[in-house]
Symmetry: C3
Subunit: 355 residues, 3 copies
């Protein structure tokens, strides 16, 4: 006999006792036909997460009384095209990535989030692996949400390394809600090296990041700054982004500045989400340029997409994107390879189902 998890409706019927001990199983399975075209080679593949990131997670909250609560969140990325899991990084440094060749042996890790929290009217203290504050603006204010072929050019190059999106060994603090529209968070994360370490790398992989924002009515704007220390040169990420919801369309914009040691990079994005019946049109233009002494590799990217919601949980979607490389850049889309200073085109067609 199979067991079944019950809908929230039954949950409510169970009353206060169960409210104090809810555990939620949740997830997304998003499969994407990906077509990539470049002037060196093309690629067609079944990928995942073209609209939302595929995942399987477990989370829960316990009411401790007096306005206090404890909670946990364990969320694993899933490559549902082939069933493999996704690696995490253990120490915010390259040495915390797995050796090459794991391929189909990569098991599930809680790479997306793995935290325990205490919360009260003073805010939330969160420990574990979590998103970095400096990442949020890149996804919240991008019509393509950092998923699929259409996402911002800023994320094309890996310029900002291991802690671009998440950090392990982090201590985070979140401001309480109900601050009149102000919100914010700060996070410290550790590289966990011996101190002293040979080569002066005891701070490698340690960092500090913060994000502050203001949202009111149709308006939302936020600024973030993060710095990860490395003896070979710190990595810094700054971004200012926001949106205005005009009802018939939601306009979004980002300004991004990154530094990796002595090298700088700049980017920006402008985009829109346009509701159309049960669906939504998505549009964005983004650019990213790395300033090196020799050349300035640059990408300019346009993306156009449509999402059609079959229900709240299930959607079909298509996204087309084109990137133009210059200054020696050779970014290809959806696995295509393109020569320096050439273009690449990509198309995603997919299904997103959440539970």
């Amino acid at each position: 006999m199979k067991k079944s998890l019950i809908a929230l409706a039954v949950m409510a019927a169970a009353g206060a006792a169960s409210a104090q001990s809810s555990v939620t199983l949740f997830g997304i399975v998003d499969a994407t036909l990906q077509f990539g075209r470049g002037n060196v080679s093309d690629r067609n593949q079944l990928g995942n997460s073209g609209y939302n990131s595929s995942r399987l997670g477990f989370r829960g909250t316990e009411d401790l009384g007096g306005g206090m609560s404890a909670s946990f969140w364990l969320e694993a990325g899933v490559n549902n095209d082939n069933g493999s899991g996704q690696a995490t990084n253990t120490n915010n440094q390259a040495s915390g990535n797995p050796i090459a060749g794991i391929a189909g042996g990569q098991g599930l890790t809680f790479n997306r989030r793995s935290t325990v929290s205490l919360a009260g009217n003073w805010g939330e203290l969160r420990l574990g692996r979590d998103y970095t504050p400096h990442f949020w603006n890149l996804t919240v204010f991008d019509p393509f949400g950092t998923n699929g072929v259409g996402t911002t050019a800023t994320l094309n190059t890996g310029f900002t390394g291991v802690t671009t999106v998440r950090a392990s060994n982090s201590i985070g603090y979140f401001l309480p809600r109900n601050l009149g529209g102000f919100y914010g968070q700060v996070q410290y994360y550790m590289g966990e090296n011996a101190d002293p370490s040979a080569g002066g790398v005891e701070d490698d992989g340690s960092g500090l990041s913060l994000r502050v924002g203001f949202a009111t009515g149709p308006f939302n704007v936020a600024f973030a700054y993060g710095k990860t220390e490395f003896a070979a040169g710190d990595i810094k990420q700054m971004n200012l982004a926001g949106q205005w919801d005009f009802g018939m369309a939601k306009l979004m914009g980002q300004i991004v500045r990154d530094e990796n040691g002595a090298t700088d990079a700049d980017g920006w994005l402008i985009g829109a989400l346009v509701p159309v019946g049960a669906g939504e049109i998505r549009l964005a233009y983004s650019t990213y340029k790395v300033d090196t002494a020799a050349a300035d590799p640059k990408q300019r990217k346009i993306a156009l997409g449509y999402v059609h919601n079959l229900s709240k949980r299930t959607a079909v979607y298509a996204t087309y994107a084109q990137v133009k490389n210059s200054g020696g850049s050779a970014v290809g889309l959806n696995g295509a390879v393109t020569a320096a200073n050439s273009s690449s085109r990509g198309l995603d067609i997919g299904i997103r189902h959440s539970f």
Copy 2:
């Protein structure tokens, strides 16, 4: 306080709302004492999946209205004798397997199935990692279901490689039910190489497979054909199989033909399931021969087993099998090593518990 998943009975009580959002946690834990005997070395071990494959899975269906539904299925193989997971393969080629030496580091992957589907009265479209159509006849029409020491000789040699059982990056279509007993499915899967690729391997690991069958009353027969492309030589699998349920016994048979480049292989199986009170006797004879220029390595295998059901979910079982090698073949059972042209014997004794 521990959370508990509730039985389907409660599910029904929750009415239509929950029917639309059911998520099911399911699994099997099957532990098997395995004894293998050969004339080079013997082996005794605690293995798994001697009767049914051990697994942990999550699946669910959403009613989209109008006869449409969306569903997902994430199912991980579990080596419950030692707690490790099982690797998947990412690209239907040897390079998609993990490097050697992962051993106890092998984590859980959704190697058994990892799919998202849309279904309607027109059938089902399924994307992800799934069984290949050409595999089904080998398990459905084998009294030992491709599990344990008794399973068909066809699967002894690994002759048909990575996509014998499942394929990643697949697009599958299933005929609707209610076609007067006819059933069928077709699947295309991708190797996802660059095009063009060095060495002309851009199609390596891509394949097409189909299965058609007819079932009515006690009778069920199906044919399947699958081909996986490789520059070094395509792999083809064909099989025709069926069963007739006489009530006092269910007779089964298979005819198998495989090709790996220029080399052919042929096999067949005849078997029976005989219900005996709360139990079932299982019998099979199978043979498999590879036709090479130098020699024709061949296995002939007999298997005899009994399954005793303690409940619908729990069974104990025992299976004895013997393989006779000829033509240079040296297949050993349950980890035993036997010299070319020698026999090997194996015994499974186990418990299967499902949830």
Copy 3:
């Protein structure tokens, strides 16, 4: 829409049908700020499991009638500081550990426990990966329960190898309860090598272990003995341990003797748990000495801790420990490195949340 798992209260309401098919999802997320100090190098990190071992598990029991039941238990260790899983060991030998360098690629395995059982009034038969009987006394009768910086010195050195805590491929038998306070278990586990094997290692990793105890009122005492075979020298573990609950304090003690081939080691522990309101003070002194021909490396360790329960499920805690090395020993705490015959200090501050 998200699915929610329901509390045991609802479970009961569902009546007998669901009692026969309960599946429980459970876990612990324990995050620990770890500070280590040594005279070579210090280390500060966010770790896990400072009070209880972090885990995610699935377990269930089926009533088979007539006093019989079947059950399963799948429990994975979780490094929630960085989201990675924990490796298991497949064959009770070093070769069953993963290759080096998996780092953030280490996926979830059911390394903590992976078993299927049949039980009746005659006791329980359990197959799979499980704790070794010779481990239990080390954790049950240690105020720090083999977690965190305060745990017994016995576990500092890795002297007893792969099967110290758990064994794979095991067959265990547990005495029934209701034996007037007597309890006991025996376990056989297999290394699963070929027989004969080159080098005479066919028994490597195989072992036998047993534990017997007696508990009545405030008193509990147990003895355990385990032996794992290796051609290079067997590993033996013996321990006698017990506790007396005086109400205002629970006193605990252990005597430990280990052998690894021709080398012996001895240790002992004395400790106490003192309830204080919603909290508990923990104290222990332990020592462990390895007798080698050249020198006798020895650790003496003191540990002091406090656990404050915010609820039954959530606690905050702090533990301080100091180890004194002599005889050439160089054990460091919480990742600190200390020179031979020097001291090391460690501090844990953490949150434990269970579900």
